[in-house]
Subunit: 69 residues, 6 copies
């Protein structure tokens, strides 16, 4: 499947924390650069996400903001 | 200002393309890894975004999806 | 690629309207039920979206609201 | 109330799962086509959502992505 | 229609700027406090939005971030 | 830090409710006008959010919808 989302960052899962319904998954996409995703527990199971797994952090361009110092 | 968004990736602006109302800004956050943001033209002006500027791509954790091959 | 987004609705592209930077793509996901997506022009080109193409409307669960009469 | 969100899919609630703060509500919008919404527990109560209720899945066009095989 | 979105701020439309596909609508929700919405041109027409109109800015709780100085 | 998000509403935290992973924070941005944010527990801690704290509700323009009666 090829998706319209412009941002697909490859990395390694470094943390999976399930909540009651919402899980937090952390993916290291570059050395020292970790992206946090809040997804459903259901998706964690469906994708068999676990520490060490190769995965992508995917973000639609309209969900990215820009900041400056 | 300190923000709740969990993902704040530092980088350099490599492209600014203004549309009629919506602009696309590309930020290189790691060598060869470029993040695209769709923001208002108004914000591009307010933040004086231009090629070469230091900037951050900011994404709320609930806007990050995860994918696997 | 398998994605965490819980909503992946299969359908047929029935309209593609490019703007200056943002395009509107309409996908019929059931008879008479059309979903509108606002994506980048860049994605329209990358996915070669055109009328009649088979495509999926993809939505993260946290972006779905519920309403009642 | 009439809303700007372009996607308002009518259906029937087929599942409501409350978490600690976030609930997952599933709405069947066409035979066999179920949409999952992650909303606050507070909203589930305010809208009195329960299995069998008529409801709409509402999505802003800018939150819809497109994918192809 | 009653919606799950927790934030529904009543106000007055003070600006409507249509782009090629995306419009920016500004709503004054309190004296001097203006909220900007980026919606489709299509929605501006469907809702007949114009300066002076009474309208609501609607935001899903999961799309609200928090910042501190 | 200066952010592209067009909506930054100053107010006072009036409620913080942590869930298993997701917290709900309510900010009064004008007398009687309360905005609800769903953010990570992690952010609540990082920003030391508590009742009475001065804070901003921050929303990207593309996440704001418009409704009319």
């Amino acid at each position: 499947m090829k998706i319209s989302a412009r941002n697909v960052l490859k990395g390694t899962v470094v943390s999976v924390e399930k909540g009651a319904t919402t899980a937090h998954v952390k993916i290291e996409v570059a050395p020292g650069q970790v992206v946090t995703a809040a997804i459903t527990n259901e998706s964690v199971d469906a994708l068999k996400l676990a520490n060490g797994a190769q995965a992508y952090a995917v973000v639609k361009a309209s969900d990215v903001m820009v900041a400056v110092d």
